[in-house]
Symmetry: C2
Subunit: 765 residues, 2 copies
């Protein structure tokens, strides 16, 4: 008999049929009787004082019902105590183009839109800072008065002894890498519907990854107890980190609804979504690495500056991760890290898929190839010489349990026939390798330290159907399906009997949200614990009935039977009946998960909120063709091996790998948010082009199962870790193809062409 | 320090503000996008075969979308296995006027109504039976072919030895009592909204007292698993038993919605509500009672015939209760009972407030007064001479735990100054006393034997607010408030931190429903158990923190403190934090209640589904004025003492007493459903006049607290038991006033006048 019945099977998502048939209702599909449409007036200036705001002409427009300004939503909020720097609308000044200054609701979206034009705002324009290095040098006109030199947060960490390390090194390189900002471009624009009951209770439907953070933030901003706020997450059309924090339009919808006593819906336009942003920041990475002749990494010194935009958002975490995770892919004993999160007058950056690690990984894996070349070593070999050991601690005290990275490397070099290709392909064709990794969730809650992580409740009804109550937000990653699988497997019944009720704060227990790749590990573990509690009760009732010990019973294939005498069995439904009778009520069970103290890392060693209970690993090989005449890079194939612990559902794991690679390729080659004086030049899906199906190379996903000792059935992260590797793999392949090293993302044809010209000039060709 | 902080306080209902401000949304207030309006074509014949049904003209009417007939909903359903005799629409024949034969949905209610007129139905009229005694004699044309002589159910019970009892008796009386049918007349008419999701999941919002019975019935009728059916109870404007079983319009709304793929709402008109009925049946009670000179009841023989209408409904229980509860008010050792539930061609009767006991109690308490007079004893004294003993068993094995009846009698005679008035008032003024009692819920589920009774789930969120998940249906009786009180008291926090989520089958654990006065006892106990489980976790965490045993801790006034050192305390919020940390998740707890095997009674002694875990008691004194010229009876004052175990909320208990008395007075003096050949002559609130505020006498509610050993904090039933006593108390007072004994309900002026005339003729005056 196979080890598992449902775990490890390729299972279509339980929410799939509703999505592909068009029956799924997203936030903007919802309407309520008497509902109004809200619109937000946005600043045209990147930095300006609000001198006067006159809404009288707008208020007089027939069909306009209500209006709020900064004074109505002036309580600051945001991620982490240090980041309480946003308000629902600007109060005294605006800090980026697109920041809201007033919000209106009207009987139609068109009238609300028209009314915005009738609001008269007088601004006193202030000097703006767009470049982070310039912003750091500015003596006056700081974006937030309490953040001198526009520095949101800086970290200075030193683990081991880098000076000693560099002395031991035989080769040392120092390079600067840069990356332009990119954004999530989720299919569904952000939207929120808010409605008050006569009792004063507020219900908010929102396209969010973090309903419980939204609940807590609304409670603070609106001064309501959390019990008076119900947050419900309808179907969500993608998040990628762009919806993983409370956002101003959510505050505005709730405040407008409260003011006018009618439901209010705000759906952001695509342009507004670009200005909401929360994407990956513009980054400058100065990286110095020393290696020995034997190919061992002796020391790393890394300085990162991130231009984070006008507000903190997750920036303090992004700049922390950039350093803290340096030591968790390779065994590096001497690390010095200086990170600066800098405020600029652009829309706020936040957490985007793989946040903190992606651009540093681009730098590190690129430079590793340069160093390998310097000592005449194969790129694969230099990586293999610096592996960590499973069940060890990194220099900064991160606990690495399972470690499938070596196997990932082995798989991609085998599948790609690496040794037959590297350095052996004709000019213009190349192959490159790189690795990456990610956390399986962060150790601590981001906005309130004593919030629990994940609890799952299971209710078995008297017809033996199982309802799973979970706070997790399904954003397309498959967490509803995952939890149904975990519970079905543990109870030994079919998936068709599972029914998931998710992300409705009135009825589901807390889950911190769908971010940092935490859901499978944390909610999956909570679901498993809850299923075990239900099973305990079932086995106890059956044990009495069959006269054997609970430990001699097995739950499988819809039955509970005696291990050594499977013919003596009761059906699951009979067992439910017996357990109900024993309990005198509905059969229920709860389970919880929080990372163990051991997994939380040493706080004073740069771990902070960051480290997770397990790390996933990825190795990727990219094969490219470079047209030396145009500089255009075509990626022909990506082989991506990902260590996800155990693939609970290989179908969705492969989907996550493919999606991550695709998103990584966008950042590698084409995507960037183009700014001119704080304006976004390409705020639309036509101009900001993410790779589509036709742009995609063949992607070969390979699942490596390291079976993590703490993950549910051994599972860990799969949704983000694969994104970072593909970017340096492409950069390294370009170098292999045409001998130029591009250190700036995205790797546009212009940059390649220019590098080729420079090289030709340099070599005299 | 008082024993309780919240229990026993006069607390306004938590759902009150929404109701009195008009903000509460009842089923008919709900709308969904694309919603259609359903209407039902109803039979004009009391008994007829369906020969032909042609819907083509109706289907052609613009705006008509869908249509169903009996063939679409032909699976029988109903209360109890024996009562599976109803279908959503008539299949082969109709059995009463008002039974549905087809249902239509259209874009407006007006079009649906118009379309009904275009349905052509050909009937073959069958002989109809309206009177139960006639129906029992009928040799042919039985209403249900499988129920010979139209007898739905008969019981023949004999406890003790009535023949020996009557031999011991010194005085024996035999009288016939009759009662006309009455109905509930809840303010809110019945209504249902049904909607299917694309996944095939059905959600039903319905004005029902029994959402879980509705869920199970829809599953059977529509052949869906219960997990695919979500039943939600919006605000309900009264039930009184008229909404305590699945009803045809609920089936039709769901079937129509399934057929057309759009939401369908059916709201019954007031006339349709009268034809849905489920009220108290027409009853004929032949009662024979023997007493000794000492005033002890020696034997009782009781024969009850109930004309139950066209379907079973709760009839098998009503006719059971009529006998089974005879022995639970007074100590009677010899009882013979013959009960006949008879089918007639009238709308089906069901369970109406106090069902089974009201009319038998009218008979018994009236006859007891006659017997007291025969032996020259005061009515109070004869009652006091026949009391039960607490913690005893009745002759038919019902377990009486707490027994506050003696105290109820004591209180009402004291408050009324009985001894100064009885027999001493001027002609035309009178005073009467009577008692009554009721179950605190039935021992078993009514429609599926293995359904659990009540489970309550408590979730404490990270801001220390408490959500109580319960399946109970708030129908105005105050059960949301009651459960909030129970949990708040046990956890030692304020009511304002409680939040009740009720009666939504997807999210709440099972509760059988709001009927048979079961909710306070059963769900109250489940809530208490759940609170204890949460408290256990809280105390365990605080115990660790303060370094004392859990048993030394007290939870009160928002704190958990050391019993002998109250200054050492943590706040409830801190305790929640600590417990969360200890658990690693959301703090939750469940509790369940089912009557103990001891409380379920001897099945073969006539207990069946009937007996409850506790019985409540009521004694009432009515003071009346009778106008001998018109026969008009004015009730001047009712003093009603009710033993509710412990009054968890005296305000709502008094409300229940007042409401019961008011409803009882309606049945006593004026209410009756008037029939002519199966047609209802008064199907409107103007014609079927329930007593309004202006008709109400002074009602003095007196709470007697016997503190039941098994009730939550000692509580038991309060919602039904007070109804029955007021009717015989009024009858007895009329006798005291003018010396005539009316044995037929309602006691109309015509009946009084006629009796006065007969008496005058008899006395030669």
């Amino acid at each position: 008999m196979a080890e598992f019945s449902i775990i490890g099977k390729r299972i279509s998502m339980v929410d799939g049929p509703a999505k592909v048939t068009g029956g799924a209702k997203y936030t903007d599909d919802l309407t309520l009787p008497g509902m109004l449409h809200g619109k937000i007036l946005r600043s045209p200036h990147p930095h300006a004082r609000l001198v006067r705001l006159d809404t009288s002409r707008a208020a007089a427009l027939p069909g306009v019902i209500g209006m709020i300004t900064g004074a109505d939503v002036s309580r600051p909020y945001g991620i982490l105590p240090v980041g309480h720097d946003e308000t629902g609308l600007a109060v005294d000044k605006v800090r980026s183009i697109g920041e809201g200054v007033a919000a209106i609701d009207a009987v139609s979206a068109e009238i609300a839109e028209e009314a915005l034009e009738l609001i008269d705002v007088e601004y006193e324009v202030l000097p703006a800072a767009f470049d982070p290095e310039q912003a750091m040098r500015r003596q006056t006109d700081w974006i937030h008065e309490d953040k001198p030199y526009n520095i949101e947060k800086e970290y200075h960490h030193h683990f081991g002894d880098v000076e000693a390390g560099f002395r031991e090194a035989d080769v040392v390189r120092e390079d600067r890498f840069t990356a332009e900002p990119v954004t999530h471009a989720a299919m569904e624009p952000h939207g929120t519907l808010a409605s008050y009951e006569p009792s004063g209770k507020l219900t908010v439907w929102s396209s969010t990854q973090t309903p419980y953070y939204l609940q807590l933030t609304l409670a603070r901003v609106l001064d309501l107890p959390t019990s008076q706020i119900r947050v419900i997450v309808p179907f969500v059309g993608g998040g990628f980190g762009g919806k993983d924090e409370p956002l101003p339009h959510e505050i505005c919808a709730a405040a407008l609804a409260g003011k006018v006593g009618r439901p209010v819906k705000i759906t952001c336009s695509r342009e507004e979504v670009f200005y909401l942003h929360r994407g990956r920041p513009h980054q400058i990475i100065d990286l110095k690495t020393g290696i020995t002749r034997a190919g061992r990494i002796a020391a790393v010194e890394c300085r990162v500056i991130q231009g984070g935009g006008a507000f903190c958002s997750y920036g303090v975490v992004t700049i922390l991760y950039a350093g803290a995770l340096l030591a968790a892919l390779y065994d590096i004993r001497n690390i010095k890290y200086d990170g600066y999160r800098v405020l600029t007058n652009k829309p706020p950056c936040g957490a985007m898929r793989g946040h903190g690690t992606v651009n540093v990984r681009f730098a590190f894996e690129s430079q590793l190839d340069m160093l390998a070349e310097a000592i005449g070593t194969d790129p694969v070999e230099i990586r293999q010489r610096n592996l960590l050991t499973p069940h060890s601690r990194t220099v900064n005290d991160l606990r690495v349990t399972s470690y499938g990275y070596p196997e990932c490397i082995r798989q991609v070099i085998e599948h790609s026939r690496w040794s037959k290709k590297r350095g052996k392909l004709p000019f213009g064709e190349g192959i490159g390798i790189a690795g990456s990794h990610y956390v399986s969730g962060a150790a601590n809650s981001i906005i309130r330290s004593d919030m629990p992580h994940s609890t799952v409740l299971i209710k078995v009804d008297h017809d033996a159907n199982v309802t799973i109550f979970t706070g997790t937000a399904e954003i397309g990653q498959g967490c509803d399906t995952m939890q149904a699988q975990v519970v079905a497997e543990e109870l030994g019944v079919g998936l068709e009997q599972m029914h998931v009720v998710a992300a409705d704060s009135d009825v589901t227990p807390v889950d911190l949200g769908s971010y940092s790749s935490r859901v499978t590990f944390m909610a999956g573990n909570a679901a498993l614990q809850a299923a075990r509690e239900v099973k305990r009760q079932l086995l106890s009732a059956v044990s009495e009935q069959l006269g054997v010990a609970s430990t001699d019973l097995v739950a499988r294939a819809g039955k509970i039977f005696i291990r050594n005498d499977p013919s003596r069995a009761v059906s699951f439904a009979q067992a439910v009946s017996a357990a109900q009778e024993m309990m005198g009520g509905t059969l229920m069970g709860t389970g919880s998960y929080a990372p163990s103290p051991q997994a939380r890392g040493g706080k004073f060693k740069g771990a902070g909120v960051g480290p997770g209970p397990a790390y996933s690993y990825s190795a990727q090989v990219a094969e490219v063709t470079v047209d030396p005449g145009t500089g255009r890079v075509t990626v022909d194939r990506v082989i991506a091996a990902h260590d996800c612990g155990r693939a609970l559902n290989p179908l969705t794991v492969e989907g996550q790998i493919e999606g991550s690679v695709s998103m990584g390729l966008g950042q590698a080659l084409s995507e960037q948010v183009l700014y001119a004086d704080g304006y976004i030049l390409n705020p639309g899906l036509l101009e900001y082009k993410t790779p589509g199906m036709l742009d995609s190379p063949e992607i070969v996903p390979i699942i490596v199962e390291s079976v993590d000792p703490e993950g549910p059935f051994g599972a860990k992260e799969a949704g983000e870790g694969s994104l970072a590797a593909v970017i340096p793999a492409v950069a390294n392949a370009i170098y292999d193809a045409v001998g130029v090293r591009i250190t700036s993302l995205p790797i546009t044809p212009e940059k390649v062409l220019k590098a080729l010209q420079t090289k030709r000039v340099g070599s005299g060709r």
